[in-house]
Amino acid sequence: MAKKRHEALGLSDEQVLDMFRTMLLARKIDERMWLLNRAGKIPFVISCQGQEAAQVGAAYALDREKDYVAPYYRDMGVVLAFGMTAKDLMLSGFAKKEDPNSGGRQMPGHFGQKKNRILTGSSPVTTQVPHAVGVALAAKMEKKDFVTFVTLGEGSSNQGDFHEGLNFAGVHKLPVITMVENNKYAISVPIKKQLACEKVSDRAIGYGMPGYTVDGNDPLAVYEVVKEARERAVKGEGPTLIETVSYRLTPHSSDDDDRTYREREEVEEAKKKDSIITFAQYLKDNGVLTEEKEKELHKEIDKLVNEATDYAENAPYADPEDALKHVYAE
C-alpha cells in the first residue's frame, strides 16, 4: 500500500493533527477578532484567513527551537507555531500593556517576540526581508546551523527591499528562506496589475537561487518545499524563494470593503478550497481525524479563545506616561 502523503514526508499522525490544530486556532482567533471589531471592542483587525495552510505548513518544516522568523502581518499561523499564544495575540488585539509584541504600542499583526525568535515587525511592507538576510548573515558568520524565514505578500514583492535583500542573500549564499504568500490581491489591486511575470518565483533566477511555486492551500506541499529549502540552507547551499498561492478570504483589513473591487462569486469560489475544510477532509480520509475528535478540537480551541479574550479585555492599558519609555536604552 502506498504511504499516506504526510507519512511520505516523514510526518506522524500526531504532527499533522497538531498542524491542523494550529491552523484552526489561527482561524478562530482571527474570526473572534472580527467579531470584537464589529462590536466596537477593538479598533483594527488584519487577517490570516486563507493563508493558514501555507503559514503552518512552512513553520512546521522549520526548526522551531532555533530558527528565526520575520513574519508579516497576516502570519498568525507562523507565530502561533513559533510559540506565541492566543492570549498574547488577544492582548495585542486589545492593545494592552501585557502584549508581548509591543506592549500595546503597535497595531495587531505587528508581531515580535524575542524569546521565540520572532523579529519585531513594522507596517511599511518588505523591510523585513533585509532583516532576515542580516540574521542569516549572522548565522553564517557565527557558524550556527539555524536558518531565517521571512514572508511577505505578492504585492510587497515589488518593493525595492525585496530585490536588494534577495540579491544580497544570493551573492552571499545565506541561509534564508523567503516565502511570498500570494493571495491574489494587494488591498484592491489584483495580481495582474502588480506583477507582469507568470509566477512570483520567476524572480528567483535573477538572484541565483531556486524558486518554487506551490499550492498555498495545501500545508503538506508547503511543508515539503520549505523542508527542502531548509536542508539546502543549513548545508550552505544558500537561499530559496517560495511562492504559495491561495486567496485572501476576508477584506484586506477591518477598514476595507472588498465589495467595491471584487465579485462575491470569486470569493465564494475560493472558499471551496479553504484549507481549514480541505485539510480536515484529508485528515479524515486518512483516518487521522474523526468527526468526534474534530468537535473536541473545536471545543477546546473555542475555550482557549474565550479565555484569551476575557483575559485580554480585562487587562490594563499601559499608563499614559509609558509612552515616554524605551526610546533609547535606559
Binding site: G103, G104, R105, Q106, I187, K193, P320, A323, V327
Partner: protein
C-alpha cells in the same frame, strides 16, 4: 456656497484639475477602482478611466520616480502615497531627484509633480499610520511643502500645487478628512503657495501653527476671548519654504508667541519658525518663544492611553495659550 468635508475638497480639486488639463493624471496604490483607502479619488476612476487614474504596483519609489519622469516630459502627475509614513522608500526620488531637477539642469528641465499623502495622528493609527513627516523634507531647497487646514484651503492650494511648475508635497491631515467641514466655492480659485494666512486677528498672544493645530487654536481662542484674552492666529499653510515676513509680522503683533505642531518637538517645523523670530525680532518679544508639540518619542503608540498622551488637543493648546497670556 456648498459645504463640504476636507476630503471632498481634495476630490473636488482633483476632479476640476483633471477636467481642465488633460495632462493631469493620478497614480498610486488603490487609487483606481477602490477610489483610495480614504476615498480621496472616489469616482475619478469611473469618470476619467484607468489610464488617468492608475493603480500602481506597491512600490513608492516607483510611484514617485515614474511620476517624476512623466513630469519631466510635461505631464502633471498627482501621486498619492497611501499614508505619509510610507513616503520613506521614496525619499531618494523626492530629495535627490524631484527637488534638484531644475537646479541641476540649470533651468533646462523641471519637475511639476504633486505628491499627496495623508498624515497625522489621533486615529488609532499607531506608529506607522500617524506620523508627521514634513520635517524630513523641510531642509530641501527645490521642494515646497503645503499642509492645508480647511476645506477651502485644500481646494485652492491643491489646485495651485498641481499647476505649480515645481514639485510640491501636499500633506493632508487624515483626521481632518471627515472631521472638518466648511464652505468651498464652486469656482476655479487658487491660493498662493508660500504664503501664510491670518486665521484670526488678535492682540495679546500670537499662535503660529498649521493643519489640525489651527482648529485647536481657533477653538481655544474662542474660549479665551471670554476671559478677555485676544489671540492672533497665523496658519502657515506652506511649511517649507516658510513665509518669513508673515511670521515676523505675526510675532511682532503681540510679542508673545506660541508655536504649535503635532510633530515631535525636536527638529520640527516650529524650530525654524522660532529661529526666524529670534533672528529678526528678538527685541519685540515679551516672553520666551514657547513650543507645544509631541514628546520626543516615536509618533505614536496605539493604545488609547498613550496615544492621547502623545497628541496635542484643544485642551493642551488652550492651556498653553493661557499660560503664555499670563506670562
Amino acid at each position: 456656497m456648498p459645504v463640504m468635508s476636507y476630503i471632498q475638497a481634495v476630490t473636488q480639486a482633483l476632479r476640476e484639475e483633471m477636467k481642465r488639463d488633460e495632462k493631469v493624471f493620478i497614480l498610486g496604490e488603490d487609487v483606481g477602482k477602490r477610489g483610495g483607502v480614504f476615498r480621496a479619488t472616489d469616482g475619478l476612476y469611473d469618470e476619467f478611466g484607468e489610464d488617468r487614474v492608475i493603480d500602481t504596483p506597491l512600490a513608492e519609489s516607483a510611484i514617485a520616480g515614474v511620476g517624476i519622469g512623466a513630469a519631466m516630459y510635461g505631464m502633471r502627475p498627482v501621486a498619492e502615497i497611501q499614508f505619509a509614513d510610507f513616503i520613506m522608500p521614496a525619499v531618494n526620488q523626492i530629495i535627490s531627484e524631484a527637488a534638484r531637477i531644475r537646479y541641476r539642469s540649470n533651468n533646462d528641465w523641471n519637475c511639476p509633480i504633486t505628491i499627496r499623502a495623508p498624515y497625522g495622528g489621533g486615529v488609532h493609527g499607531a506608529l506607522y499610520h500617524s506620523q508627521s513627516v514634513e520635517a524630513v523634507f523641510a531642509n530641501q531647497p527645490g521642494l515646497k511643502i503645503v499642509m492645508p487646514s480647511t476645506p477651502y484651503d485644500v481646494k485652492g492650494l491643491l489646485k495651485a500645487a498641481i499647476r505649480d511648475e515645481d514639485p510640491v508635497l501636499f500633506f493632508e491631515h487624515k483626521r481632518a478628512y471627515r472631521l472638518l467641514k466648511g464652505e468651498v466655492p464652486e469656482d476655479d480659485y487658487v491660493l498662493p503657495i508660500g504664503k501664510a494666512d491670518v486665521k484670526r486677528e488678535g492682540s495679546d498672544i500670537t499662535v503660529i501653527t498649521y493643519g489640525l493645530g489651527v482648529h485647536f487654536a481657533l477653538q481655544a481662542a474662542e474660549k479665551l476671548e471670554e476671559e478677555g484674552i485676544s489671540a492672533h492666529i497665523l496658519d502657515l499653510r506652506t511649511v517649507y519654504p516658510l513665509d518669513k515676513e508673515a511670521i515676523i509680522e505675526a510675532a511682532q503683533k503681540t510679542g508673545k508667541v506660541l508655536l504649535v505642531t503635532e510633530d515631535n518637538k525636536e527638529g520640527s517645523i516650529m524650530s525654524e519658525v522660532s529661529a526666524i523670530i529670534s533672528e529678526h525680532c528678538l527685541f519685540d518679544l515679551d516672553a520666551p518663544i514657547k513650543r507645544l508639540a509631541g514628546p520626543d518619542v516615536p509618533a505614536m503608540p496605539y493604545a488609547p492611553t498613550m496615544e492621547k498622551y502623545f497628541m496635542i488637543n484643544p485642551e493642551k493648546v488652550e492651556k498653553a495659550m493661557r499660560d503664555l497670556a499670563e506670562f
